[in-house]
Subunit: 230 residues, 2 copies
DNA sequence: GTCGCCATGATTGTCAACAATTCTGTTGAA
DNA sequence: TTCAACAGAATTGTTGACAATCATGGCGAC
């Protein structure tokens, strides 16, 4: 039996590797267009190549990377049009979910959100981007799970995942993290006050910054490449 | 070089196998709870086991089958609660898409839908369940693609896929197929007339029958198993 | 007669070697 | 100098064998 990690089931290991790669993409360690070489990843993540292979297949299905036959996998570079479309769908889905959250909300939900947000705020304060990312994910999952429809939640998460590749810009930015924290706190307050319109408005607002930051950063590059002929 | 089929890229082959299995599930050849043995499938579909493995992973992701480690894959049996939740999300998504279809619709769209519906009607008339299923898929894809947001379309298709396992009841029923045909024709008419409310209403209506048929067929079984203790 | 334990078989999970493909750098000629 | 062809390296795709795991059925103990 290994000392540090106990043996996981294969499916879980694949999920774990996929999640690890996803984090590296979100945090900007793996940049768009960067090539993902199976054997290198296998060595770095201390796992066999075929496990990496499966993880890459999963990330491809999710839409975070692209794979071309016999040429390998690349972190997908999202073009602004795509990002806009995805965010438009996210807005619809998250609004839909927010409108179904029971009001007044059960005390259980509030305390759960507060606990998660405590972790998030701490991560933001200490500048731990990875911890902030994870806490952020937990927050949204817990929030939307309250809508009562797990399949809707799944969709929301899937769409969020799709633009993870576009989040490296904001994921490590102190200002954006602080803004996200404040908006989370606002959502908790809105739920506590039973103010659904405010909650919905906050959810919608919450999506804007990372979308706009990415588009602002990438749009000119795309506009140029399009006119030049890429 | 093989005589019948030329060599495909691996990714396409996986997709093909997954699609084939999906059809078999929809058409009721593979029943819920039925076990899917990798080696058997590999032999039957004339591919190597590891291709089947990837296809199963894809179907698991989509939600059509379940896999438990070291025990294999099973066709997922959807419980009525789940089906209701999925259909509720489908209704929201398809309504959203239908509301974004440009009106008046381009002539291109109408002729495309009419062509597809021609194939669908023919399949219904001749009782070819498989062809009807395929034409039905095409129809909805073409219809919702007109909303202009490919990511929304993808979501709609994903949710439709999730309940494919619940469709074997209606997929081969002459009455249901005829009803679907008539509703499709109604949608085309609504689009031609530029009558958006009618189109939206028809889309919503269109979801009902297969959901209700499945729930009616399965609900008592679940109610019993729940009270007995499953 | 029933319960629990172990041997056996069926199936999934893991692996490393091999084959096929694409990329890179070099050479030689126009 | 530029271009094309070629050889070699790097990387992905494929395969069959092997190991680990779980269900099944028989055997003995109580």
């Amino acid at each position: 039996m290994p000392t540090t990690a106990l043996k996981l089931q294969t499916t879980d290991r694949v999920r774990g590797i996929a999640a690890a790669l996803e984090e590296e993409i979100v945090l900007g360690w793996l940049m768009p267009r960067e090539r993902l070489v199976e054997e290198d990843l296998a060595e770095r993540l201390e796992v066999k190549r075929h496990v990496v292979r499966e993880a890459l297949a999963e990330l491809e299905r999710v839409g975070l990377i692209e794979r071309v036959p016999n040429r390998g996998a690349f972190v997908k570079l999202l073009d602004p049009t795509e990002v806009r479309q995805i965010y438009s769908v996210r807005e619809a889905l998250e609004t839909l979910a927010a409108e179904q959250i029971p009001m007044p909300a059960p005390a259980r939900l509030l305390s759960q959100l507060e606990e998660i947000q405590g972790a998030h705020s701490a991560a933001v304060a200490s500048g731990d981007a990875r911890a902030a990312f994870r806490a952020n994910m937990s927050f949204h999952e817990a929030l939307f799970a309250a809508c009562g429809n797990p399949h809707l939640v799944e969709l929301i998460q899937a769409m969020a995942q799709k633009v993870h590749g576009a989040r490296s810009i904001t994921a490590a930015s102190a200002e954006h993290l602080a803004l996200a924290r404040d908006e989370h706190l606002g959502m908790i307050e809105a739920i506590r006050a039973g103010d659904r319109p405010r909650l919905v408005a906050l959810c919608r607002q919450h999506l804007g910054p990372s979308r706009d930051a990415y588009i602002a950063a990438v749009e000119p590059r795309f506009a140029r490449s399009k006119s030049v002929g890429g």
